[in-house]
Amino acid sequence: MARVVVDVMLKPEILDPQGQAVQRALPRLGFEGIADVRQGKRFELEVEGPVDEAALARIHEMAETFLANTVIEDFTVKVDGEAR
């Protein structure tokens, strides 16, 4: 079985309160030098059968219609090699 990873991030122009909260906390914890933090979601999908173009196209569609709301989010799909 292969693993496909879908990363979903808020579009750059959309407010990311979570990322901001993390970034604001960092200096207090003694971590300097991080100019920006964005927080998103990572989906790890275990795919049965071959991860061919057709499968990736389907996962792409799934990401577009379900995993992400493209009004506010961008996503990327990538094959992660063999699942552990």
Binding site: K11, E13, I14, L15, I72
Partner: protein, 749 residues
């Protein structure tokens, strides 16, 4: 691109401008040119276009809404009326209460979670801006057919968004509505209400005065979200292509808003602001022009000082951005330092962006050059006003002639029993606890009543037990059948709900959800509904203190049912005297107050059993509603009733089932002589309530009703583990509970 300055605009009168794309009509653009004596700059055009949009200017509805100000009942409770961020009423003991209901319909369809969340955020800031601590929220909601696949997307997202935002702010959710109807399929209605409490002397207004006073923007940074949101999302139908090159949906940050609330309340406590305004639709355009317009003098703003999240924003975009969680305050120079300290304490960014001038213009600068020079009133308060044509639709007669009273009725007691189960299990009549359990109803520790009670009630003074109650109601089916009566029925039901809890109704807020005002049939519905509501408020003695209009709720040619949602606020001197809906005391007597006629038009029964909408809605008698209210309030105050539940959709049987399930006790019911059992159970005649009276109080109670001329019929007794309708059928509580509670979870999980 060169900056479009005021000077440049004067020199280039013939430059083409995208006024049409921004939603302006040719004559509106002409008027702007007339006002300014030149073409507007890009920034001015941006401001006028958002502020003159339907959502901000109320250009189609204004002529009708005027009645709320003209037909004002004598009521000295009103401290601040229509026109401010929210109305304010005096509830005694030096307390003032502000409340308002608003819509966030279209954004919630596109992005249910964030759309609904920012709907709560927006209304809470309105309440805060009046000087009040927000103390509760409510959420009247309407979705498409319960079994439609898209409802599975929209409803859970909306509910999670309302909960996610409201829970995080620490505001108890004390009530609302959930209605399903195919007419809302592409146009769910997400209305949100907030209640706030303050002392009289804390009331604040949105006005800028005192030359030299500083204008401070505080809260979140301004980003590129929600630009064009106002004009595109709230004013136009979806298929029209708007100017939104940036996303028109905003993401809310409830944590930031919580800080904004606490910070603002601390600023009020130290009396540091002269005028204050929240930033909602139309962002800075709205806040600056409204503050300046309502005050004396002008205002000068340096737009470069606005803290940005995205440095690539143009000045037009900064003016239009609807980034959430921002407020604008006018502060005397001597108080600025302390203001800033408090903001710092709460980690809230605050920036002086300008000052009040002794001129008459709103002037905005960017990189040292002037890009806006306008009379603020022309932006904020003197927008276009339309007398849209309206006409009673030609289908109205046929609809009313399709009489629901003639629909086939159950032939046997067994069939009647089956229909009872079917109605109480139908999505609109079923328990909504799957939804309302996602809302915190306990936070702040003052919740006296919350869902599924008739009204939400909170204590506002721990020493004296003074409290307020709020209920919201609307019935699109009734209103479709007869808009004038439908609006009055919504008012009557909401009024009745407040009174049934033991509180004295004081004031009204409303959210008018309709289709396109460009359709004369819709405009007629709107005109009739506002007339009905205004007349009703006059008769009941409860002024309208504010509200909101949401138009263009339609898909193609098809509008939603006209859906005025009415919120009634009441006061109760001692919350210990509240009346819950639960029938909990075995042996108590059940009295039906009011008259039951054969009225099935628009009823739950006609919808569930026959999928039918036709005929006339129940008749309204507001004099009777008032009398019923007085009786319910007296019964509560003098301890004559232990429980009361108003009758509305679903009729007597629905109220009975809810009260029995809530109390965990059954009832034995006798059908009054000469009454048809089916009509008795399912008719939706208005002006009725079911009351549980201790035997020791029976005489006193019936004497009171008799003396005041309110029909009171003894219909049964609280008893046992089932609801038994004598001579007809009985249903065990367990079976009713299963039917009533299983429906919504099954639809959504």
């Amino acid at each position: 691109m060169t900056l479009d300055t005021v000077k440049h605009a004067g020199e280039t009168p013939d430059t083409d401008q995208p006024w049409a794309e921004l939603g302006l009509k040719p004559d509106e653009y002409e008027r702007i040119r007339e006002i300014l004596g030149r073409r507007p700059t890009g920034a001015e055009l941006a401001m006028y276009s958002v502020m003159w949009s339907e959502h901000c200017s109320y250009k189609s509805s204004k002529v009708h809404l005027r009645q709320f100000g003209e037909k004002v009942p004598a009521n000295d409770a009103m401290l601040v009326g229509i026109g401010e961020n929210a109305g304010v009423v005096d509830v005694g003991q030096g307390y003032a209460v502000t409340f308002k209901v608003e819509s966030h319909n279209h954004p919630s369809y596109i992005e249910p979670y964030q759309g609904a969340a920012t709907g709560i955020g927006g209304i809470v800031r309105d309440i805060l801006a009046m000087g009040a601590r927000p103390v509760a929220v409510m959420d009247p909601l309407r979705f498409g057919a319960a079994d439609h696949p898209d409802t599975k997307r929209v409803l859970p997202g909306v509910v999670a968004g309302i909960g996610g935002y409201g829970n995080c702010l620490g505001l108890p959710n004390i009530g609302g509505e959930v209605v399903f109807d195919a007419c809302y399929q592409g146009n769910p209605l997400v209305n949100a209400l907030c209640v706030g409490v303050m002392k009289h002397e804390d009331i604040h207004l949105a006005k800028a005065s005192g030359a030299g006073n500083k204008v401070i923007l505080y809260g979140a940074r301004t980003g590129g979200d929600g630009i064009g949101g106002v004009s595109v999302l709230a004013s136009e139908t979806f298929d029209s292509t708007g100017p939104a090159k940036r996303p028109a949906v905003q993401v809310g940050d409830p944590f930031q808003e919580k800080l904004l609330i606490e910070c603002t309340l601390e600023i009020f406590r130290e009396d540091l602001v002269d005028g204050i305004q929240d930033l909602g639709g139309a962002g800075l355009s709205c806040a600056t022009s409204e503050l300046a317009s309502a005050g004396s003098g002008g205002m000068r703003v340096e737009l470069d000082t606005v803290p940005l999240r995205d440095s690539s924003l143009s000045p037009e975009e900064i003016l239009m951005s609807e980034s959430q969680e921002r407020m604008c305050a006018v502060v005397e120079p001597g108080k600025v330092e302390r203001f800033m300290e408090i903001c710092e304490k709460w980690d809230v960014i605050a920036t002086v962006i300008g000052e009040v001038t002794d001129g008459e213009r709103l002037e905005i600068f960017w990189h040292g050059e002037q890009i806006v020079d306008v009379p603020p009133r022309t932006v904020a308060h003197e927008g276009p006003v339309y007398e849209r044509p309206y006409a009673r639709p030609d289908w109205q007669d046929a609809l009313q002639a399709d009489d629901a009273n003639k629909l086939p009725r159950p032939a046997t007691a067994e069939e009647l029993r089956a229909q009872v189960l079917k109605v109480v299990a139908s999505p609109n009549q079923a328990s909504k606890s799957w939804i309302t359990d996602q809302y915190d109803r306990f936070v702040q520790g003052n919740t006296i009543l919350s869902q599924p009670e008739d009204s939400g009630m909170v204590r506002i003074d721990e020493e004296t037990n003074l409290g307020v109650a709020v209920a919201t109601d609307g019935n699109g089916r009734y209103t479709k059948l007869d808009p004038y009566t439908g609006a009055q029925l919504a008012l009557a039901e909401s009024y009745r709900n407040v009174a049934a809890s033991g509180a004295r109704p004081l004031a009204i807020s409303n959210c008018l959800n309709f289709g396109s005002p460009e359709d004369p049939a819709v405009m007629w519905q709107f005109a009739e509904a506002t007339r009905g509501l205004a007349d009703g408020c006059l008769e009941l003695g409860t002024p309208v203190t504010g509200g909101n209009v949401s138009l263009y709720n339609q898909t193609g040619e098809t509008a939603i049912h006209p859906t005025p949602v009415v919120a009634v606020l009441g006061v109760i001197d001692d919350v210990e005297r509240r009346t819950p809906i639960a029938f909990a005391e075995e042996g108590q007597l059940l009295y039906l107050l009011g008259d039951t006629a054969e009225e099935l038009g628009g009823s739950a029964w006609s919808q569930v059993i026959h999928d039918h909408l036709g005929g006339l809605p129940p008749k309204v008698d507001l004099g009777r509603e008032k009398l019923l209210g007085e009786i319910l309030i007296s019964a509560s105050r003098d301890g004559m009733a232990d429980a009361a539940h108003d009758l509305s959709d679903g009729g007597l049987i629905q109220a009975l089932v809810e009260s029995c399930l809530r109390g965990g006790k059954g009832a034995r019911i006798v059908v009054p002589d000469g009454m048809d059992p089916f009509v008795f159970l399912f008719s939706e005649s208005a002006g009725r309530a079911l009351v549980s009276v201790p035997r020791s109080e029976e005489l006193r109670f019936t004497d009171m009703c008799g003396a005041r001329g309110l029909p009171a019929t003894r219909v049964g007794v609280v008893d046992g583990e089932e609801i038994a309708i004598q001579g007809q059928f009985s249903i065990p509580l367990a079976e009713l509970r299963e039917a009533h509670e299983a429906t919504i979870p099954a639809l959504l999980v």
